[in-house]
Each structure stands twice: as C-alpha cells, then as structure tokens.
C-alpha cells in the first residue's frame, strides 16, 4: 500500500495563491516535503477557483516535475486539463478519475491507453454513489471490462469504492471494506484499489486517528493505494507495521524507517 500525496490541491489556499501568481515556491516545497515523507505519487489538482484549468494543470505538472522525481496523479474533472498534463509528464502518470459514465470512460480509457497512464475508476455513475456492495461491484465490473476492451493491463486500473464521512454514513465503512475484498475477485490478476482516505473523517474529531485505523483495516481487505496526507507521520507508522503483518515487506527492526524512506 502506498500513499498518493494529496497536498498539491487548489482547495488549499497556499496552492490556489501559488497557481494564481505563477509562484512555483509553495508547490515545489510541498512536492519535496511529501516525497521526503514517503509519498509514492503526487496528486495534482488545480482546484475549483481557476478560470482556465488547461494551462493551470500544465504549469502545475511542469513545476512539480522540476522539484520531484515522483510520478504524478492528475486530478481533475476537466479531461482537457488532464490530457494537457499527460502530454508533458516525463513518467507514466495516474488519471484521477473516471466514473462509470459511458462518454467519460470512452475518453479516459483511450487517453490512458495512448499515454500508458494508470486510471482511478470510481464506483459511481450518473445517479451517484451506490450505498450497497452489490451495486458498487456491478460498476467495478464495468470498469474492468472497459480496461480489457482498451487492452490496458488490468493492474493499471485502480478502483475506488468511494468512502463517505463516517459521522454521516456510518454504514458505509463496512460496505467499502467488503467491496475492496470483492474487487480482488473480479479478475486474475485483479484490479488495484484505492481510496480517498481523508473523506472517511470529514467533520469528525481526531481525524488522523480515524484515517489511520481505517487505512489499516482497508489494507487487510486488499487496499493498494490511498490518496491522503503523506506528511502525517502517524499514518506512516501505522502503514509500516501493517505491511509487515500482511507479509508485504520482510521484517527488520528498522521497519518504520524503511517504509518512510522508500514509500511503498
């Protein structure tokens, strides 16, 4: 399980201001900091306030790549912006994200195939996020089929079963965990899985505690990646032993340090 660092996002004021002023400083600072803390990918989102997302995304990709060697996760609902970013990515990137909506999947899967990109597919469609496991799995199957139809290796697909805040939809925690388990049964090799981790704790007290307990539970159900706070040291301290306990890493006394250093 690896962390996709969430911090370079126009939702944060410092990043929004940096994009507006074309000041690479804060973006590059967060790129370096997240990489040092063990992030495996950097999520880039220009945010809601930007007038033209295409040049903003291109700028964000360029300045981030100047500061970090990590692969990027291009996060936008504007697919022109994602494509503009993919054009200049020096490493195969991840596309964040596509719902099960036909014309959107057509465009994103074709784009992923031509840029060798990975895809985050969401188990939601025009009608929203389903509440039960079966409906989520039905949507996951559609994502897998599209991957196959575009001859994209299945392990380039990261399915996100969509967590909802625990204080609002408490029943969704178990549903997401069960969905993660069942996604792993859909194909051989199975698709990968990811979560927008911080969503689980929106509006709660002690958010970090909820995030790290949930990520460990999700790892036991087959979670491969999480978009989250790479600079949360306590999160790394929880993920490192979980990787050992799940036999993903070979134990040694410095296991926490090793995880922080290599970010996997």
């Amino acid at each position: 399980m690896f962390i996709i660092g969430e911090r370079i996002n126009g939702m944060f004021h410092d990043i929004a201001r940096a994009i507006r002023r074309k000041d690479p400083g804060p973006v590059q600072e967060w790129a370096r900091r997240q990489e040092a803390m063990g992030a495996a990918y950097l999520d880039l989102n220009v945010g809601p306030a930007v007038a033209d997302r295409v040049p903003a995304m291109r700028w964000l990709v360029a300045v981030t790549q100047d500061a970090s060697k990590l692969p990027l996760c291009l996060d936008s609902t504007d697919y022109d912006a994602i494509e503009a970013g993919l054009e200049i990515c020096t490493k195969p990137a991840m596309i964040n994200s596509v719902p099960v909506v036909q014309e959107k999947m057509d465009r994103i899967f074709a784009m992923a195939a031509s840029y060798s990109a990975e895809i985050i597919g969401l188990t939601m469609n025009e009608t929203g996020v389903p509440r039960d496991v079966e409906s989520r799995i039905a949507l996951a199957v559609e994502l897998v089929m599209h991957c196959d139809a575009h001859a994209i290796p299945i392990d380039k697909l990261y399915i996100d079963p969509l967590v909802l805040p625990v204080n609002i939809s408490q029943d969704q925690g178990p549903a997401v965990l069960e969905t993660l388990r069942q996604i792993k049964l859909l194909s051989d090799p199975p698709p990968k899985t990811t979560l927008g981790l911080s969503n689980i704790s929106q509006g709660t007290k002690s958010r970090e505690l909820i995030n790290r307990v949930f990520v460990v539970m999700a790892m036991a159900c087959g979670l491969d990646a999480a978009i989250g706070d790479a600079c949360d040291e306590e999160l790394a301290k929880a993920v490192a032993p979980a990787r050992i306990l799940l036999n993903k890493d070979i134990y040694c006394d410095s296991y926490v340090k090793i995880f922080s250093n290599q970010g996997r």
Partner: protein, 335 residues
Amino acid sequence: MGKRGKGEEQITVEIYKEKHRSQVREVVLGAAGGGGGTRSHTIKVGGETTLPFLHFEGEIPNRPVIAMEVWDMVPADWPDNLKAFFSDVYSDPAAWAKKCVDLYGADLVALRFKSADPEIRDASAKDCTAALKKVLAAVGVPLIVYGCGKGDKDNEIMGALAEAAEGENLLLGVAEPDNYKSLAAAAMAYRHSIIAQSPIDINIAKQLNILISEMSSSLFERIVIDPTVAALGYGLEYSYSIMERIRFGALSGDRILAMPMIGNVGNEVWSKKEATGSADEYPGWGEQPERSLAWEAVTATALLQAGMDILVMRHPHAAALVKQSIDELMRDHNP
C-alpha cells in the same frame, strides 16, 4: 506425451513467466589499473532479474563464481585427502594462491588470516599485511579477505589489511550485527567491498544492511550478503529457504536485500564427520576421499540453486565439479 501422427494438430504450450519488478544489485569485485587497483581483471557478481538459471524468464548477466580458500598457515585439522593438494605450498600463501588460480582455475582467492587468532599464533597486523601483499603480487584475480573469526583481533588486523591494499576493492569479511563498524569504516576509507553476515536470519540480514547503509550509502552498493550456509545434513535446507526469501525480496523490490550472496561452503563441510570420518569409523558410508569431495560439491550445487553468487570452496576436484555444473547451467548464456 505421445507421438504426434500426421495431420494431428500441434498444441502450443505457453510457458508461464513470472514478471519480477526488480533486480539484484551488481557488485564488482577487485579493481584493475583503471580502477585504482592492481588486479588483472575485475569480476562482476549479481545483476539477476530472475530466480537462479531461469534464463527464459529474465537475465542472469553474471555467472556464479568460485573462490578457493587459502590460509596464511598450515591448516592442521584438514584431512589428508584435502591437504595433499597443497602440501607443497603450505608454507607460502602466495604460492598456494597461485596454485589455486593457475592449476585449479579458481575465479577468486579467499585468503583467511587464521594465524591471527590469539589462541593459535596471534600473528600481528604487520605479519598479516606482509602476507596479503605477497598474495596480491602473486595472483591477478580479485581477493576475498577474511580475518581469524575473533572479533576483537579482527578489528585490529582488518583495518591494517584494508589500508595496505588501498584501492584494490577487496571483499572484506565479515561484518556482523554486533561488530560491523570498524570493518565498514575500513572498507569505506580504503575503497573495498564488504561481506555482511547474518546467522541464517533474514530479518537480521536486512537490519545489518540498513546499519551499514546508515554509515555510508556508497558502501551500501558494495555489500555482499553472507546468509550463513550449513552443510548438507546440517540444516542446508534452512539456509536454502532463507536465501530463497532474500532473493524473492530482492526481485520484488526490496532494495535492502537486493545484494549478491556469498557462502562459506568449504568451511562448513570440512568440519563435519561426513567429510572427515574414515570408512573404518563409519562402515557403509563409503571411502572418505570420494565421500568428502562429493559432500562439498553437492552442498555447493544445492546452494547455487538457491541463488548463491560466490562459493568459497576447498577441494579442487569439488570446485571443478561445481564449475562444470555452472558451465552447464549457463550454457548458451555465458556472459
């Protein structure tokens, strides 16, 4: 599979290939003129992208190599059938090393400073460096240098040996979890490689590599893992499974374990009764001379299959048998 008749369809069998995402680090042993040493050539070990000898699946760019063991004193407890090969050169480690290379085709020489042992001769660092210099002058192959096995004394002599051979890129042994700092410092200061030895324990193997990497990230690139091997009949299968796990770890992206491996085969085998006991003592076991060399050869070839990159051996005929086995396993793939 039956014979195929005329007109029968041929079935294509697709061989399943494991896709590994990483590879074993390549380590260079020795340094020639251009690299600041005096070796006639260097030897590369490691670099595998697949499990041992699965040529169809990945690359095995470097063949496993055999180092023959040379002592700086007469090995009193070696049995006669082993001693006989070296009786003319025992008094002179340089001549002994030369015989191993010229006559027996050793890829490397593993020089063991047994005489430094305080309970044997307590030879001084000065005596040891003099012997090392003679061996370096006598042979062109890269050298492995072992101390006497007593930690405190080895800390004394290994620094001096490292300094005397500055730039030769010796493979210095052995660093252990509770005694690695002075050897690592010597290897760093005088540009040598290092053997990191762990007691048949993958967790300790990994931790020791981390400890060495914390001293020097460049020395980390020059570590060879000694997972500690056992002779056939004495836990060979434990060594085998630890080596397998180390190699699986390396191939699946654990860079802390992605090192070539070395095994002290001769040292293990020739202390066991299966190698030394006479036919009178153990009727039914066969004659000691044949049995002992077979014991060393079989132990070594089993370890090859677990991913051993450097085999340290004693009996010239056992070494020749293993070399023949390596030739066959690397046929058409010789780098």
